[in-house]
Every structure is written in C-alpha cells, then in structure tokens.
C-alpha cells in the first residue's frame, strides 16, 4: 500500500469502550459505527493511504456536534470532519485514529435567497445541487470542481476547491461570506454574515475556508451568488508545440479578454483520450487548448473571433469554433475524459495541482517536459491552464519500487519548480498529508511558524484533524514502501 510514511502510526489514540459509551449518550439522534467493516469504510479518501478510525459518527445536529467536540477536547481524542471523501490530498483521513465525523448526512438546508443573492447551505449538501438550485432561479454559484456531483460543499469549503471557472470567477473562498463553525473547544460561533461588505474584525471566514478541517467544523455556510451569464461559446486551438500553446494562453489573457475556462491538453492526454474513446482528436498535435467564453451573445461572438486570430498568430495550426451545442459538448467531453483515460495507462495516478503565475505558464510547460525526460516518468499535463493551475499527473505502477523512487524525485522537482517560478504547491487540492513536507519551502520558517501559532491558539490540544498541513519532524515525501 502506498503510504506517506512519516513514522505515521506513532501516538495513535485508542478510543476506549467507556469513551464510546459516552459518545452514545451525546449522539442522541445520529448513528455511531464501530464495526470493523464500517471503520475500514471510512479509512480512505481519493488520495493515498489507509488509516483506521476508532469510531465513525453521523449526525445532523449541531448541538450534538458541539458536545462531541467538547468531549474529544476533554478526552484528547482526535476528531476528523469528512464530507464524501473525494479529496485528492488526504484532508479527511484519520491519520491519528480517533473519531471520523461524517458530515455528508448533514444535508438538510439548501435555501436560495433571491433578494440577498445568497445561498444558505448545510455542509453535506452536494455542490452540484447548489448549482442546480441557483440555476433554477437564474443565478450561478461559480466554483465548479470536477467532482461537484459527488463532493459536498463542506468539503469544498474546508479545502477551498477551485475548478475550471476559477480563471474568471475565482474559487470557493471568493463566494463565502458567512459561516457557522464548531470550534475545537466545542463552541458554536458565527463568522461574517449575509452582506458582501463586512470588515468587522478579523476575517475569520477566510481563515476557516481552506483550513482543511484543522481549525473547526463548518456546520452552515452563506454563499454569494451571481447572475447567470446568458450564453457561452467554445474555441478549440491545436498546436504543434506545447510551448506555443502556453504562449497562446498568455497572449489571450493579456489581450483584454477573460474567458470563463481555458483548458490545456498535451499530446499524452490527447492520445490517452483517443485510445480510450476515439473521437477524431488530432493525435499528432503536441497540445490543444479549449477556451470557453461566456456573457452576452454579441460580445462573445466578437471575442471568439479575436481569440481565434490570436491563437493563429502564435502558431496554432488549426482553430475550430463548434457551431452547435452538441459539438461544443463533444469537445468538453474530451477534456473530461482525460482523467479516467490516463488512469488506464498505468494503475497508480499521482495528481498534482502546483500552480504558477500566468506569465510563467510557457516556462512551466518547458520545465515539466524536462522533468519528464530527466526522470523518465509517464507525465501528462492537462488542466486549468488559464489560471496557471496546470495538472501535471504522473501515472506509474506502485508495485515497481524503482519507478516509484523516480516518481518521488520528479514530484519533488515539480514542487520546487513551481515555487521558484513564484507559484504555489497547491492551487485547489489542499496540502493534507502529502505536501506537508514542502510547506516551509514555500512559506519560510517564520511564515510556517505563524500558521502553527494560529493552529495552537484555536486548537490547544491538537485534536482537530491532527497530522495535516504541518510536517512532522523529518517528514519526507515517500511514495514507495
């Protein structure tokens, strides 16, 4: 099994029987799962590793959650909030054992307020259900992670999820204006509110969003909505050189046009999709970019022309503008298929989300090609190129120890490169367990220390999702046993 082994299993708590009895008295309306099969079923997420919790708790009741956290804080039992565990960074894994709190069941509230232009939601509501409810009333909730039909809004908030539309509309944190949070000491607090403007005190809302469940448990959120754009248009540009494709992205973005999505597929991903489900993609091309423009129909028609011209100027060999909705869907389907298609090349997929400033996109593309050659790894580049959030994915076979060592080195060099170019370790997946060893490289010792002090102030007993974000002494990236 792939484990990010950092002396991991030391100091794991064992919840005692009397403690489970006490949990039973606290959770009056919910469920408590302790069977071995249940515990193993809450031991994983969409990333790596198996960590067995001692007990799984499900409840819809915020008072019960507050009491449960008070108990955990008093008894020093780790407690890990969890949505539907689609995380790619290990956020919900109970790495120190203890309690997994399954919030996917807390889905009772989804209210669209058309006058205040907000949605008020429980953490277990699926992101796609918010999209749908907003859409029905003529609004849009822009953050659109690929897993939105499975992921809960609570998980999106904890990890500050992004998605293709991040380029134009920003990410989860840009749409959260108020929260209800159970603190690690079991208090129920409200941050922010229902107004777009709010400068009363520290912005605890933004602090909680993206804190990966280490500072508290989100039990309700107020999300900002925007009017739904009336139309959209897609442009597909094909390149003989990946670096030219990178240049085209920079060129479009500096031309005064802001597309709603701008996605890159390199040759390896084009090939993988074509092998998986043939649809006539240009397999001899080194890259293609897909651009979506949204807004007033007349405006986007004009913008689509300009984008086509710009792409040709930097060397696109062909530009296509799908005329019908069906053709448009076909093009985006190819992009959606990249992830499953590359998983069929080799069984182990290491998905990274290192992100660089827009101006560095061509340079990052070049450096990724070098890394691919240098370590002889199966590296595929695709993703939300427009916002610098390239997704370099390495596919490998975890049973090949020698290959996995090379993958470790390649991943490390990808992180180093992103930071050298003024970028960041994670654009949208979060730090979790895997990227923790690289935190100091990006933040510096003093920067990381400030974060640790915030954690200590909020959670003096370190019971709230421990083992995440901050590296353990001597922790290194390890992908093999």
């Amino acid at each position: 099994m792939l484990l990010y082994c950092y002396e991991a299993r030391k100091g794991i708590s064992q919840v005692e029987q009397r403690q489970i009895e006490e949990i039973r008295t606290i959770i009056a309306t919910g469920r408590i799962l302790t069977a071995e099969s249940d515990r193993y079923s809450y031991s994983f997420d969409g990333s790596f590793g198996t960590y067995l919790p001692d007990v799984v708790v499900q409840t819809k009741d915020v008072q019960e959650i507050a009491e449960l956290v008070k108990f955990a804080n008093r008894e020093l039992v780790p407690i890990c909030p969890r949505g539907q565990s689609t995380s790619l960074s290990g956020g919900p894994l109970p790495v120190k054992g203890g309690i997994v709190l399954d919030l996917s069941v807390m889905n009772q509230l989804l209210e669209i307020d058309a006058e205040d232009l907000v949605a008020v939601v429980s953490p277990g509501v699926l992101t796609a259900d918010i999209h749908k409810a907003a859409d029905e009333k003529g609004f849009m909730y822009p953050p659109d992670p690929s897993s939105s039909h499975v992921s809960t809004i609570g998980g999106n908030l904890a990890e500050n999820s992004g998605g293709p539309r991040g380029l134009k509309y920003g990410v989860t944190k840009d749409y959260v204006i108020g929260l209800e949070v159970v603190t690690p000491e079991g208090e129920i607090i409200r941050t922010g509110g229902r107004t777009v403007k709010n400068v009363t005190g520290y912005d605890l809302t933004k602090l909680i969003v993206g804190s990966e469940g280490t500072l508290g448990i989100i039990t309700e959120a107020v999300l900002r909505l925007i009017p739904k754009p009336p139309a959209s248009k897609t442009v597909m540009a094909i390149f003989d050189s990946l670096i030219d494709a990178g240049r085209a992205i920079s060129k479009v973005l500096s031309s005064g046009i802001l597309p709603s999505k701008m996605e890159l597929m390199d040759q390896a991903s084009i090939l993988a999709v074509e092998n998986y489900e043939p649809s006539g993609l240009p397999i001899d091309a080194e890259a293609m970019i897909l651009i979506e423009l949204d807004g007033h129909p007349a405006a986007i028609s004009d913008e689509a022309n300009q984008v086509s011209i710009l792409c040709k100027e930097v060397g696109a060999r062909e530009v296509r503008v799908p005329a019908t909705q069906a053709e448009m869907d076909e093009v985006w389907r190819a992009r959606k298929l990249v992830s499953p298609a590359i998983a069929r090349i080799k069984p182990t997929k290491i998905s990274e989300d290192a992100t660089v400033p827009r101006s560095q996109i061509p340079e990052m593309c070049r450096r990724l090609q070098e890394i691919k050659k240098k370590y002889n790894v199966h590296l595929v580049v695709f993703g939300h190129a427009g916002d610098g959030n390239l997704h370099p994915n390495i596919v490998a076979d975890k049973s090949d120890i020698e290959e996995m060592r090379r993958v470790e080195q390649a991943v490390t060099e990808i992180f180093e490169t992103a930071i050298q170019l003024g970028g960041t370790l994670s654009g949208e997946h979060g730090i979790g367990t895997m990227k923790a060893p690289f935190m100091e490289m990006e933040l510096g010792a003093a920067g990381l220390d400030m974060m640790k002090r915030i954690k200590q102030a909020w959670d003096p007993n370190n019971i709230m999702n421990p083992g995440k974000i901050f590296p353990e002494p001597g922790q290194k990236l390890v992908l093999s046993e």
Binding site: L33, A35, Y40, D45, Q84, P340
Partner: protein, 440 residues
Amino acid sequence: MKRDSALDELRKELNYDKTHACVQCGYCLPVCPTYVSMGKETHSPRGRINLVKMVGEGRIKDLSVIEESLDLCLGCRACETACPTGVEYGAILEATRAAIVRRKQFSLPARIVRNVVFKKIFPSRKVMNLIGNSMWLYEKTGLQKAARTTGLTNMLPAHLGKFEAITPSAVSPLQRSSLPQYTPAKGEKKYTVAFFVGCVMDAMFRRINELSVKLLSEVGCDVVVIDNQTCCGALHAHAGERDDSKALAKRNISAFGQHNVDFIVNNAGGCGAILVEYDHLLADEPDWVERAKQFSAKSKDITQILALCGGIQGQARQPQRVTYQRSCHMTNVQKVTKEPLQLIRGIANAEFVEMTDAAMCCGSAGIYNIVNYDASMDILDIKMEHVKDTKATTIITTNPGCLLQMKLGIEREQLQANMRAVHLVEYLAEAAGISESSFK
C-alpha cells in the same frame, strides 16, 4: 509488502488485481441505491471494493467481516456505468461472493434450500413447470383464498407471503404446453431467431413469452423455440454459485449451438445480462470460450430486435401517461438503453414521462427482495415516490423481477385502483392489438 502464498491464492480468488483500477474518486456514490438508502460507505461500491482490497492485503483477516456489505449489494452495476476508470465491479463482486460461499458453513436448512433452489428448481423446466402447475392448482382450488384468510401466507419464510399477492395468475397446464416450436414470420422474413424462454418467465410469465413470440413474428422473424434449453444461470452467479452457473451456460451453448439462427432473443433484462457475458463466465475454459463468444454475440434483448425490424405500430387504447422503470442489467451490463425508449415513444395516444433517478434500481435484484426484504423495501419506497411524482398510470418494465417489484410497490402504496405495472412486451402487444389467445 510481505508475500505469502496463501494470500496470493486468496487474491486470485477475490479478483483482487481488479480492485487496483478503483481510484476511490467516489463517482459511484450518487448512483448506488444502497449507499443512498443506507447512508454509509460500507454499502457503497468503492466501500465494498476497498473491503475486498483490505482482505487481499491481509488487513482484514476474516472474510465474514465483509460478508454483510457484499450480501446487501443489489448487483445492479449502476456503479460500472458511472465509473470513469472502468472498474469491473461485477467481476469483483461475484468472485468475492463465491469465495465467501466456499468458506461458509450454511446451517442445514439453508444448505438444503440452496441446493434445491439452485441445483434442482431453476435448471429444470420440468420442475419449474410443476411449480407453474401447482400455482395454477393453488389458485383454482381455492387454496389461495383459504391461505390468505387464515394468514398462512404471512407465515411463509422470509416474507414470501408478501409476494404471494402480486405473483401473476398462473396459466393452466393446457395453455402452458402451447408455446410452439416454430412460428413463421408474418409477411417477408427478415431474420430467424431462437427464443430464450427463461425459467421464471416460463413458469410465471408464460403470457409475456407468448406475446413476445407473436411480436417477433409480427415484425418479420421466424421464431424457433429450442427444446433442451435451460435457466440462464444469472441468479446462481450472483449468489456465488459459480460452478452451477457455468454448467447451465454450457448446456445452453450446446442446445442453441445446434441451430443456425441469426439471433438468440430473450425478454428478461437480468437473463440477457449473463447471456451476453457467457464469454466472461467461461473465460478460463479454453474448450468453451470460443463457443461462448459466438453465443454471446448472437444474444439480444427483444427490444433490440423489434427496433431493428422497424418497431411496432400501435396506439394506446385510451389516452394515458406512462413511465419506464429500467432493468439495471439491461442498462448497465447489456447497455441496451435506446431501443426500449424508441419503442415506448412509438406508441401513439400515450404520454411518456421520465421519473427522477430513472436509472436507479427498484430493489428487486433477482432474489434480493426475498433474502434482504427490509433493505429492498427501503429502496422500493424511494423509487415509488419518484413514480408517483410522474402521475403515470402505467409503469413499464423489461425484466420479470422489476415487474414483480413494481407490482409490489403499487400494492404497498395502495395504488391498485389507478396504476398498473406491465412488461414492455405486454404494453406493445396491447397497443398493436395482439392478444394472448393460444397459438393455433
């Protein structure tokens, strides 16, 4: 990881290698009926795959730990349709169930029932005929009424009593023997097809089988009914009785192999699913795999052939609203999705309304509703809410299990007065004015 040969053996037995294709993305969660109704990962597809993985890695030492989780899977395989990485969930499920069955000490009564049901009843047309005849006798002699009034039916094991009310009225032995061996095509012959009668369909839904043959003849098929065919073996495979399933597959391959036909046509989504996978079932038997491939390639659902031959022209007797409860195995395994809709939409004077989560299982799932009654009813209750929302008066189905379950749902909701459940074949025949009167 430590290698030990016992664990290696177990891995092979469980199809452990196939679990690696699962990246635990969770895309299967929203489409899984048991995850939706039971609300925990233990009853989700990725949860079940993970449990198999944990056994294969020696972390879970005792197979009985994962037994309940796998038992409660409907086997609808909606997760395979949703899966982006192509995990062969069905193969993992059936291999693991077989491994559990092999190690399990069934209590003596359970062993006898399993033996009788799987080895004697389903495979034998004679015995299934006998059951059909007894059902007829049971109804006609007034025993049924007596049983109902005395509450005897409620004392039947495992809620069988609940099903007694919805099983179709059985046909007399005279009618039952009347499915002709050869029915010529009406008009110009387009294809020659062999009709797969199935065991449950034959014993309980002979009327639908008759109508199927007539519809096939109506659209231009010569229809032959081959004598020594047997049960498809699907229920055996799902219950972990793989060897029995293989034996039945071989009997069918031999029987149909002697006749030169264009297609082998069935009208039960669940049977059709294993018929198209006989080549997977017999993949490790070199003497059979080629013949199995030929058989599977010819095996088609009746809707495919009716659509291929141009469909059925007809109109509903009175204006009505209809909805369609898909057979999971037809959708997720046979991947037959367009033809039934095409045929339903082709009938005039009826409005077709799709229900919410139309592709989700109704909870019938072979004999799941009998062995896991409570779990099945929770799933059915969710389904019936969606059915009611459509305000349909007819629920169309394409598999006997689904048909019975929908009838049960209508009974539970006490909607008998203005809602009915039919097989698509019945619906089409009714609209085309084809009656069930015996063949001459």
